[in-house]
Symmetry: C2
């Protein structure tokens, strides 16, 4: 790091205006943010400062060419007021993978990790302690350099904001398996957490919402026969007692919750298959009764059980099980995240 993190504290906290018992997801922001500029080929001193608007030239390439990436993380507090992160280095590594694909400079580990820890220290009161709530953390990077020429910018901003948050989805999720639109191309940026991947999903998702669904399950753009991911979540499908999820690829995000779920499930002796799964196979399993569960896995929603999926004009309801895998796995992962269980994996990072 160029030099120590500079800290500019807010004059008066706005925390008293927040109802921690009724937190929305990602729309109430903590007092401070971390900001670090990449200028003249190097990262400058990171600054923690009051949460405030960002000022950008109208020709900044973020506005024109979508050169932006982000991460999603959560911080938790346990009963003893310890602050904990979950596999934060995985987010740092993935942010840099996204950065490489979008031609954004790598962010050094010390700016990411020390910046994050210091920000959580400064805004420690903002980490919720209520069951089911957490501090959602949003690190992001974007092109601040200017020009109406479609080429990478010469300067960038790395920012971390945080938002005390409740649940991402309220209630059961109803999803639509997509048959026309697609999220990602082969050889494209689907594996990256690139801003443009999300906006591209809004229209098909809106069409699905108008039909009564919450989200789209994306299929491959060529045949629409292979289950890929849900845009904000990876997808797991349980057929009989086998848990199946698609392998990651250049079209599918390498979800941290996804790989944590695979590890925990395997260690519980659940039969896990990481392989391509077709829509036909899922429909056949639904019809024969062997389809037991479908759920999404992602940082925001953790594990989100799917109640119903739609395909080709028909809705298929998932059975109501006792002790579903989704519930067992969600408890296992959140217990590790919140220090209610042993962490044999070394995933939990407790801050000093």
């Amino acid at each position: 790091m160029k030099s120590n993190i500079e800290i500019q504290r807010i004059e008066k906290s706005k925390i008293d205006s927040v109802d921690f018992n009724n937190l929305p997801f990602g729309s109430v922001y903590s007092d401070h943010m971390l900001e670090c500029d990449f200028i003249n080929g190097e990262w400058q001193t990171p600054v923690i400062k009051p949460y405030a608007p960002i000022s950008l030239d109208p020709a900044a390439k973020i506005f024109h060419y979508g050169q932006s990436i982000f991460e999603g993380m959560k911080a938790y507090k346990d009963a003893d007021e310890n602050t904990m992160l979950f596999r934060p280095l995985e987010n740092w590594k993935r942010l840099n993978k996204s950065a490489e694909r979008l031609v954004i400079p790598h962010i050094p580990e010390d700016i990411f990790m020390e910046g994050l820890k210091k920000l959580l220290e400064v805004d420690n009161n903002w980490i919720p302690t209520n069951e089911g709530s957490s501090l959602y953390i949003r690190p992001f990077m974007f092109a601040s350099g200017i020009g109406f020429h479609a080429s990478p910018a010469d300067s960038y901003k790395f920012i971390i904001c945080t938002a005390p948050s409740g649940a991402y989805f309220a209630g059961k999720v109803k999803v639509l398996i997509e048959e026309k639109y697609a999220r990602a191309a082969n050889g494209g940026v689907g594996f990256a957490k690139a801003g443009g991947n999300y906006a591209a999903q809004f229209y098909p998702t809106q069409l699905a919402i108008e039909k009564g669904y919450n989200q789209v399950i994306w299929t491959d753009d060529n045949s629409h026969e292979y289950i890929e991911e849900a845009g904000a979540m990876n997808i797991f499908i349980r057929i009989n007692d086998t848990l199946i999820t698609s392998p990651t690829s250049d079209r599918i995000l390498n979800g941290i919750t996804r790989k944590s779920v695979i590890q925990i499930a395997e260690d519980m002796n659940i039969d896990v298959e990481v392989r391509k799964i077709t829509v036909s196979e899922v429909i056949a399993a639904a019809q024969s009764g062997s389809l037991k569960e479908m759920f999404g896995a992602g940082t925001a929603a953790v594990i989100s059980p799917i109640a119903t999926f739609g395909y080709h004009g028909t809705d298929y309801d998932l059975p109501e099980l006792e002790n579903p895998f989704a519930e067992i796995l969600k408890k296992a992962i959140t217990d590790i995240q919140t220090n209610k269980a042993e962490d044999p994996y070394g995933w939990r990072v407790v801050l000093d």
Copy 2:
């Protein structure tokens, strides 16, 4: 329009600092910009004001979800100082097509056209008169509404900036036909001028630049066998005396220069085929000597002749022709744009 355009003039113009004889492309900005906000479900009064930074909440969705679109246009001045636009309503229509796919509200024709005309009136001195230069116009729209939830924003900005500009490419263009990476998915947003489409091209383009090429010619993401577009230009290929270009699709931008070129070429009795064209066909034509020309067509570069293309480790040089189609068509289109020739199509719009 909600009410008349509000105009806030700059105190002191910066035009004297600009060398109009050595204009770069898109990196010198005129004195004023137009800005219009979409708030509470409606477009507010457009404001023409001094070119100045935009201030946005760090949670504005443009930073996180790539919800942004743009257009590229040019204004010209003829010998009598008339100001001219080229098919501006086509840009307006396409901006709204992009808007629909990205779930951004439509911009009304009067805000777009009246705003543009008024801006060009206020900054009329900024329109270059030198041969080969023009005022590049960049209308763009993006999500200013906030939230860390991957869904469309509730507020947006529509902005028009202008930049007196010289040529987009200097010299002959050397392109690489892409075999691994892809620009667009079937059922994706490739047809839209969405910001994210451009950032996704930076990395493969950078790899091509490192190998000595200027740009990538994109192929379909499934087989890499069909020629699509060049990212900032549509592609035309002349085999013997036939001019071939790919049909537009949900992966290929419906270029205004592209369709103008097709119309002019047909009216010159050039044999034009709008059909899928394979890489194999182009290679075979290059080997047999029937491949005469390749050129890109787009607003920024108008028509950009390709000198060499690379494919699978081999470079293929295009022949040097006398009176190539590229030159004839470029002269025809720019003569219409700059009022040096009759405009039988009604494409030129002369401002009052």
